[in-house]
Amino acid sequence: MEIQLNNNKEIIERDQLTLAELIQYKNFTFPLLVTKINGRLVKKEDRDNVFVKNGDDVTVLHLISGG
């Protein structure tokens, strides 16, 4: 399937996968992420249950300590 990931086109070699699986697949290893699908926030505890589908616009932002 084809999705937009952080404003870039991405081909994912799967028919569907959960957001948690996508994060693993893309190797996003930062512990604290903010995730959105089609502009809607997906909280950490929901990433196992929310599926990424063809055409979705996915945003994965990581947050780093320091201020």
Partner: protein, 195 residues
């Protein structure tokens, strides 16, 4: 009269929220005060420590003072007319929507990444339409070209996205100040429109 009189006129009725008054929050608040943002809503539960003086906009005679009090003093030394609403409190999912409800833009200025995530989720979920400007990745020194802006809807994340604070790479005045001032600059672009 200030040379930027017209800009000050546009900013004098604006309200900007600053969540945390450490390195990011204190420097960002000072920049916004200097350009004439009319009201700042600041919150922090901490006191000024000597270790903060390497990057935070406080002075050695303010050590031991509540950061919100010290920051209000410093803002009003620059411009006594700027209104500063202080909250000496630990921010959380419950109080953020109340404290910052009248703000045109909110600046995230926490130290801990888990609190950054908390405020992003709180604002995106409970305060739709509000602008939030976060800092993420500012430790160490040099590497000027790596600091940038990521935009997702009304959420802006400013920093290098990489350098976590550690014993080898502490937060230091130049890079913390760069990110804090880029946050203030982003606030201005939202309040005034693009150049």
């Amino acid at each position: 009269m200030f040379p930027d009189h017209n800009i000050r006129e546009k900013l004098k009725d604006k309200v900007v929220g600053i969540a945390g008054c450490g390195g990011l929050g204190s420097n960002c608040a000072i920049a916004l005060a200097r350009v004439g943002v009319g009201k700042l809503v600041i919150a922090d539960y901490d006191e000024v420590e000597i270790a903060n003086l390497n990057r935070q906009y406080f002075f050695s005679d303010q050590v031991g003072k509540a950061k919100v009090l010290a920051l209000r003093e410093n803002i009003n030394r620059i411009d006594p007319l700027i209104k500063v609403e202080m909250h000496e409190i630990q921010l959380n999912e419950g109080n953020i929507p109340l404290i910052y409800k009248d703000c045109d833009v909110i600046v995230e200025a926490f130290d801990r990444a888990d609190l950054k995530q908390m405020i992003v989720e709180t604002v995106v979920e409970k305060m739709p339409g509000y602008y939030l400007i976060c800092g993420s990745g500012l430790a160490g020194w040099g590497a000027n070209g790596t600091i940038g802006v990521t935009v997702s809807g009304n959420l802006y994340i400013i920093g290098d996205g990489t350098n976590e604070v550690s014993a080898d790479y502490p937060p230091l005045a130049p890079r913390v100040g760069i990110v804090a001032n880029m946050q203030a600059n982003q606030v201005l672009e939202i309040l005034l429109g693009k150049m």
